[in-house]
Symmetry: C2
Subunit: 418 residues, 2 copies
Amino acid sequence: MSLIVQKFGGTSVGSVERIKNVARRVAKWRAAGHDIVVVPSAMAGETNRLIALAKEIQAQPDPRELDVVASTGEQVTIALLSMALLELGVRARSYSGWQVKILTDSAFTKARITSIDDKAIRGDLKAGTVVIVAGFQGVDAKGNITTLGRGGSDTSAVALAAALKADECHIFTDVDGVYTTDPRIVPDAKRLRTVTFEEMLEMAGAGSKVLQIRSVEFAGKYKVPTRVLSSLTDPMMPVAEEAKAGTLITFEEDPHMAMEKAVISGVAFNRDEAKITVHDVPDRPGIAYAILGPIADANIDVDVIVQNVGHDGMTDMTFTVHRNDYAKAVKILKGQVQSHIKCRDITGDDKIAKVSIVGMGMRSHAGIAAQMFRTLSEEGINIQMISTSEIKITVVIEEKYTELAVRVLHKAFELDQV
Amino acid sequence: MSLIVQKFGGTSVGSVERIKNVARRVAKWRAAGHDIVVVPSAMAGETNRLIALAKEIQAQPDPRELDVVASTGEQVTIALLSMALLELGVRARSYSGWQVKILTDSAFTKARITSIDDKAIRGDLKAGTVVIVAGFQGVDAKGNITTLGRGGSDTSAVALAAALKADECHIFTDVDGVYTTDPRIVPDAKRLRTVTFEEMLEMAGAGSKVLQIRSVEFAGKYKVPTRVLSSLTDPMMPVAEEAKAGTLITFEEDPHMAMEKAVISGVAFNRDEAKITVHDVPDRPGIAYAILGPIADANIDVDVIVQNVGHDGMTDMTFTVHRNDYAKAVKILKGQVQSHIKCRDITGDDKIAKVSIVGMGMRSHAGIAAQMFRTLSEEGINIQMISTSEIKITVVIEEKYTELAVRVLHKAFELDQV
């Protein structure tokens, strides 16, 4: 008998029929003797509807009040799901964030969990009750309702699993696991049976949107074994079978498994960014801050940053931002920064794509980068930027080559053989 | 400078535009120097939508979980209204029932308020903040969300006014006050500038649906001066004018006013009931309980009960129930009661109406009942049942005569001259 936290996303609870299906699936796991905590999101579209309503009143809604509105979406789902379980004859009880309570800081609309009181939940589990906790929401020390930001239900689930020392956290979503790359682009893409926490983190950052990155960090910090599963399968699929389905995110590296494992686990890509180059800036201390400080002050996130060694006391700096922030970032640089740092020019391109290969195996294998670059050059794809981490190599290329690059890299690293 | 609690019903906050209008009205009162607590209902139709959603999952929704769902309607409105005030540059802050906190018993879907913590509200008022409290909802001692049942927002508002010792409670609704009778039936009906608490209670019970009866009881118990006002007037109507508009429900009887006052304040009617007669029951102790006990056990409310003096040890008992409960009540009587009490027959009629005249003045005036009965008989309207209280006389008549009876009584008691 295990304690399992099961999270269901907005699509999985998007209608009355789907909520009933979730209840059947949960009831099946409960009947198999497991203690179950369920964390549902709001019904698909509901959070957007509520935020749109708020924006009709205030173009920039007050963050405290926005959280009061937005948190009602999950409050509805927890009660409906509880009713659906009761209707199946399963003991169930719903808890909102403040009822648990899930204590957060006071950063409305993007709060962070600071602690979870597990007393009430443990009491219910002991009594054989399925506990249903609203995802995405919490309460601050002053009793204000807070929300964790987009995708926060994943974080709620993983944080609950950590607080309860759950045996596993199941993230039910509309895909059946983590793939070597996007199957819509590479039909040969394979589902990974396991992926390490570090790989998952790099793949989430590189644009694989299966799990919210913050929840992966949480899972890693507390070493919560987390399984990504499909909620679109038959809810009555045998428990023994479902327990091995999907993709398990692991933390301890099993040496035996590592030997068997492919060098590369996946190819990720992202077409949401734009690149900006600041040309011929003086190569001296403080210059990076002079360029990126005003960008950060405008709340623009910077992703890849590349600066090469300089010549004649001058260098170029290139970085990427979200495509929505591109015009704003260029305007800031031309308006506030250019004259100040005396650079020659500022250019940019929003028709780029970021393509990454990710894998624990590349740490101990030389030549991975070389193989990646050769594969791309053989197709005539020019590499505009390169950035690397311990287990990831990222290149920025022209957007139109995205699918081609993903396909050839997937094949070159034999991911269709996984 | 006064402390005023203002309640706005579902129609008054039924759209974004209307919420903005409520904000303008509240801002106007605040600008006039008053401390304001606002209690909004859910947006019109929202509570019904939520309950319907719950019933798609469970035909008889679990009461605890139903309250979790239903309470979200008001949670959305408080935040939207708070945003609308902030947008006007008015300090505002929303509170759900548990945040206040409004403590109730644990009777889910029909909870009663046991206490209200006024600390947070007083602090905000002192800082010049408009406080917006969710109507209809509270929290029980164990931290479960509760709701007060239909019309509960009126009760929330009056209870808050009592707890805060407010100078006045404004109930904004879609009518501009309490009328001598329904203006749709008697175009000459006049708005009452004041009505006593006792009259209001009798008129609410007799079917005038301006205020929920429980809120009137609350207002009476704590002597909260309560004004019924229209939310359909120009929100920027001068405060001095609005302060005298509508109908004020009073508690102390002003002797001077009483002298000027008409004997009768209004004619109320109700077509929602059906009558049932149990014929020839033994006229002995315990028989009323034997008849009405099983009805009460089935959760059927009984309204008017009439039992006349008996003959030859036998008597008839007649009572009214809500029309929706008529068939069920007759079935219970024929199935469980008839053979037990050995009555001759059980008959009934669901084509009846209840018409009442209400007025503090009738306590000191003889002949009011006689005048009522003569007025009806002159129109050939047969009186089937009579029931009286200190300040009300109710008759049950054939339903088709309802409008006629209301019109002739309104004229006979000179209510068009008020």
